[in-house]
Symmetry: C2
Subunit: 401 residues, 2 copies
């Protein structure tokens, strides 16, 4: 008998009917394997708790985590009770009952240790353990939370610690798609992806899995499956590159509208200029992504263009304006109506012409490229936001996805 | 510096504004004393949880208690955060964090032990401990709940364990009244009551305090105060009889409409008859209250009348009907439209004529007495439910309350 970890998010346990559906899925898997099922709070509950915290404007981390983690008590209790009713020998456990030991960074705690022996002894006596996601306990005995998407992390961490055969992440889609099906109806479900590809997809806009949980799975060489809690069929397996028989040159096209472009022009072209600007922004925790620098036509001053997350654009403007004299730029322009389009694929490493095809496809559609950034398995370009759908559709077709 | 335990129920912490009010009351008391404040879940939350349990028809105790105890996470977190904002050094604790050790009788668990040393060490480092009411942990490490009114029990238990100077129970009324002010507007707030009087009042219909918490306070000789969370003034102190300077002959008049009358007639008058009937009901956990037995006019058969709680009347009928041959009665009649009226006072023990005045007052108002039961400090009569208000008003006046 193997161990399978299954994770169901808030929308999969939003009401009693949906929890009964989860119980059915779990009970089928429990015929063949020992199960740890990780659940979040009912959809909406964590938002409600966040609103309470906002209402009192609380920056008290210990208290905030107590409030934020209350919802999982309810879902693990309900799911375990329903499982018992259909004859499954089940045990509900909160984070502190395992315990899932974390550091004290409330609201973004990192898991330090999971008591394997204790869980294994529970697994000897029960068919299914229903575990509260998103929460842990620190060394002082206070409840901590792992941050948004934390239930994915709980599932992957416990699966890694216990060397589970697989960690299944149930969602409201059938898996990871070659691109957003809302834009390209022909988008197809990908059957296998390398961790690296999934990471690039997550960080370039595909919202299926939390980046942190993919990193953790990769580190532990744990097979992940993203699949639907509504339709019974295989989802997308996320595995080690070695396990991919054929590496796709391009596996998917992703996009993100959460980018803002900043352009500084007329800066004296001296060494150390970039270091000054980006050092300044990094010291304020602003994540700069794509950077383009070019010499202006007069040959003595430079222009710099880069992107920051939409959330940070106002803060970025303020910092640059406050340091206008020091940086010594001529003009500052910003544009929030831009979009980052990425093509991702493990096969790109050993294949040439991928970037060229991307640029040509965009050119044929009269789409201007504002900036470019690349990694070994990804090419991203920045374009005008209004061309997002046209670009995604054209690229999806160009790479025969 | 003394230790005061303060308890606020669900209606006192029903929203952020009310929790802020609680924080103000606590902060005033914290200027003079160390404080443990016990809170329930927000009004309505525990009912919502009970509905979930009803929806899935769960009889799984471990799971039910997990679900039922989720609401206190939120209130202790919010109250502690607000206290910190107004400069009070506060620590929120759940039942398992103390720990409050209970037996495994889920939904009606009894407290076995409270870790005094641990709490005392917390009290050295914090001004206020905000403690979740209603919940504990059993020896297997599972969460338990103490049943309805359980937060009162938590407050009294912790105050007793730590020998607190006083346990203040905050409610939406100003204290314990000589009778229900909804029936008698002149009803007055009682300033001091003996534990025994409060117990009789609780068990005869006054809903201010949970019987169990009064028993626990009496056993530990802990001073209780029932007071308002809306108006700042002294409430009703509940103390040892010895501390009452003047014992009132009658302190209060209470009533309960939660009674049903059962009459069995034409039973052969043999020894062991009552034992048979009431043994049968006791074995089914039915609580029989007032009992009247008399010989019928033919001199050879008896009639028996008694009361049971309204909830149990149908079950009682069923049991008696199923055992008709064995008991050998002639006819069975029930009446749910009856009311129990009680007069209560410590002074009654050394005073005669109290019962006589009660019977005379009811007689003067043409109210027929269906049954009588007495204790050292209480006289209860059963009457037709429609005369409840008339009887309560007349008795309140007759005893000059």
């Amino acid at each position: 008998m193997s161990l399978i970890v299954m994770k169901f998010g808030g929308t999969s346990v939003a009401d009693i009917k949906k929890i009964k559906n989860v119980a059915n899925i779990v009970s089928q898997e429990a015929q063949k394997n020992k199960i740890i099922v990780v659940v979040s709070a009912m959809a909406g509950v964590t938002n409600k708790m966040e609103n309470y915290i906002k209402d009192i404007n609380s920056d008290h981390n210990l208290e905030n985590d107590l409030i934020l983690t209350s919802g999982e008590n309810v879902t693990i209790g309900l799911l375990s009770a329903i499982l018992k009713d259909i004859g499954i020998h089940s045990l509900p456990l909160l984070g502190w009952q395992v315990p899932i030991l974390t550091d004290s960074e409330h609201q973004k705690a990192k898991i330090l240790n999971i008591d394997k022996n204790r869980i294994n002894s529970f697994l000897e006596n029960y068919d299914v353990i229903v575990l509260a996601g998103f929460q842990g306990i620190n060394l002082d005995g206070h409840i901590t939370s792992l941050g948004r998407g934390g239930s994915d992390t709980t599932a992957v961490a416990i699966a890694s610690a216990l060397k589970a055969e697989r960690c299944d992440i149930y969602t409201d889609v059938e898996g990871v798609y070659s691109t957003d099906p809302n834009i390209v109806p022909q988008a197809k479900k990908i059957s296998k992806l390398a961790y690296e590809e999934m990471l690039e997809m997550s960080s370039t806009g595909a919202k299926v899995l939390h980046t942190r949980s993919v990193e953790l799975a990769m580190k532990n060489n744990l097979t992940l499956q993203v699949l639907s809690s509504m339709i019974k069929k295989n989802g997308t397996f996320i595995v080690d590159e070695q396990k991919l028989i054929e590496k796709e040159i391009v596996s998917g096209v992703s996009y993100s509208k959460n980018e803002s472009k900043v352009s500084l022009s007329g800066i004296p072209d001296k060494p150390g200029l970039s270091a000054k600007i980006f050092g300044l922004l990094a010291s304020k925790n602003i994540n700069v992504d794509m950077i383009v620098q070019n010499i202006s036509q007069d040959g003595i001053s430079a222009n710099i263009t880069f992107t920051v997350p939409n959330n940070d654009i106002n803060f970025t403007k303020k910092i640059l304006e406050n340091n206008k004299n020091e940086i010594n730029y001529n003009s500052l322009k910003t544009d929030e109506k831009v979009s980052k389009i990425s093509v991702i694929g493990m096969g790109m490493m050993s294949q040439t012409g991928v970037a060229q095809k991307m640029f040509k496809t965009l050119g044929n559609n009269s789409i201007n490229i504002l900036a470019i950034s690349t990694s070994e398995i990804k090419i991203s370009v920045l374009i005008d936001e209004k061309y997002t759908n046209v670009a995604v559709k054209a690229l999806h077709e160009a790479y025969n996805l």
